[in-house]
Amino acid sequence: MKKEALAEIEREFKGERADLIPVLQRIQAIYDYLPKEAIRKTARWLKISENEIYGVATFYAQFRFGPRGKHHLKVCLGTACHVNGGEQMLEVLKRRLEINPGETTADGKYDLERVVCLGCCALAPVVTFDDKTYAQMSVLKLQGILDEHKKA
């Protein structure tokens, strides 16, 4: 637990109820997920029960409760991506990485997420690999990207 990180967050906010979600977002920005310890401390600081914080945090898709893989793969399944074959892209990744969306590979290298619309609908179907967005994907293009990354 990075003590100073939480102290810094405490300085940034007034400590009101309305700060809960932004605070959780800041914690996740630091740790990449919401550690139990951080939630416990937030509960004490904001005077909201841990139960209630979990209630709020689990409601929103953004929050994670455990560490992710080293590389993040996201398959967009917005409407435009869906009609242009996004589902097939997800199948490729599920098969190649042997994980389901929301999971991390056993070696901790990749995690896979399905997202609904990244807003690049005109370039569907879209897959993102870490910060890079790949437009107009096909099953073969995607496999090529995976092969290249595995080699590197």
């Binding site: 977002q25 709020v56 409407t79 009609v83 609904v116 619309c117 807003g119 690049c120 967005t133 437009a135």
Partner: protein, 623 residues
Amino acid sequence: MNTKKLETRREQAAKKWLEFQNNKRPLIYVGTGSCGLAAGAAEIIGAMETYLKNKKLEADIVRVGCIGPCYLEPLVDIRMPGKQRISYSNVTADNVPRLLEAFFEKGEVYKPRLVGHFGAEAIEGVPKFFDHPMLAPQVRIVLRNCGIIDPENLDHYLARDGYQAIEKSLVMPWKEVLETVKNSGLRGRGGAGFPTWRKWLFCRETESAERYLICNADEGDPGAFMNRSLIEGDPHALLEGMLIAAYTLGATKGFIYIRAEYPLAIERLKSAIAKIRDLDLLGEHILGSDFSFDIKIKEGAGAFVCGEETALMASIEGKRGMPRTRPPFPAVSGLWGKPTVINNVETLGTLPNILRNGAIWYAQYGTESSKGTKTFSLVGKVRRTGLIEVPLGTSLRRVIFDIGGGLVKEFKAVQTGGPSGGCLGKEFLDTPIDYENLAAAGSIMGSGGLIVIDKDTCIVDTAKYFLSFTQAESCGKCVPCRVGTRHLVDILQKICKGKGEITDIHKLEKLGSAIKGASLCGLGQSAPNPVLTSLKYFREEFLAHIMNKRCPAAVCRDLVVYRIIKEKCTGCQRCVQVCPTGAITGPRSEIHNLDETKCIKCRSCYEICRFDAIAGDAIIIES
């Protein structure tokens, strides 16, 4: 009022804009909205910087927002000193040296990938950019600055009449501003189309020491990106609109509730807010008047239901984003129990134009009941995809076939209104797009997603897709939505697997109408629309799945097979190499064999057979 600071800055801005227009150094514009970046704009900028450095050339690179035709991204424009701005499409890092060489070293206009030029003067052999078939039929009011100005540069916005509308509004009584908005006929652009002025009046007439204004930028509809493009391309238009609305409402505090998935839009808003604070356009006593207002950005945390007004407010208050019953309406009792108005990004972004040019000017566009223009994200199986703005009342045919350039394959339907809307077929192509017509057809205007579907898209699968989406996003508070959508998905899944029964159709209709009638909020009340409209207009496709166990579009995986057409197979072995399960076998130069029991329908063989030069387009997917 004290507008001295603003006036001084405005004079400077005009000068800077003039300098920008009469550039002494070559200017290179690169479209760097999220879509441009996805298409590779960052790599292009890198390649340009390298080229300029190696050749010791000087030029300024301007990062502009999305100008609309996303299918042409990445778009790169070049303006040499004393010349006009010329635009190129689908540029790649490899093209950069040749493109720059033509302009910088040979002093000529590069011809490949040429789209057109901006500006009035004709250039031989170069068409006008706005004569492009995708752009010519459009009327750009809210998008007027997108792709034209540098969104990070306040001077650009100021030089194009920016913040004139708020200056004008502040010397008018609030009732007069309200009257102008009323006469303009502006209705909520978030989807429901409630008259903007009426919402404002409800709020203003509620006695309270504090009132709030919320900008709903939680653009959750999959397939819609109008709000993102506007914020990324012209953030000040939204901020100015918020100032006008807040002044009319007497609101002291404003929130922009924006999706965390839009990092670039958030960044641009933050920087724009900081800039106008310095000009006394935000904070205490704006421009020396009695009006004080401040804006805070609230990032959404990924919940579609938070696009619903009451859920959105719960989220801002730090709670689970669950809707509550209305009344009381937010205009009477909203955020922290105070009167609150929630307006969509586009509604707010339109306001400066209305105040600047007048209600009559705005009302000249549109139909009797739906005035003005509307932006749409035109995507799916249409040739020219992108962001467009047209007067309300424009027909779907004009949008899809004239602006969108039609489809490669046969048109089947257009999906409007996202997960709350429906699929409309051929018979609606000549229907003018407005709030009433779309509602009468069983769909809704929604926030502006138009997804074009061709004969290769399965209607049942599309309905299943939307229902799975709303089912997953249902907050779980009320039973009809939580349980009802789950059952709709189960039935649709059954049909897609070829296990549907004829009684399922009746079940879908009965359950759908029950969910519509009994759900608590807009999410549940509109969730069955995709399946109900599809059943109404495309019933035979449901019947094909149920009675014949066939998917006419060859999409539903349990109902299709992959097959090799013997006459076309060249025996190139490309499919054998890519097949992950060893389902395809056969020696080189002999007809290959596909073992259906091993095939997982992953599409690899189909793709390679179609796109590889030596393959013969021999693999088909059929039902």
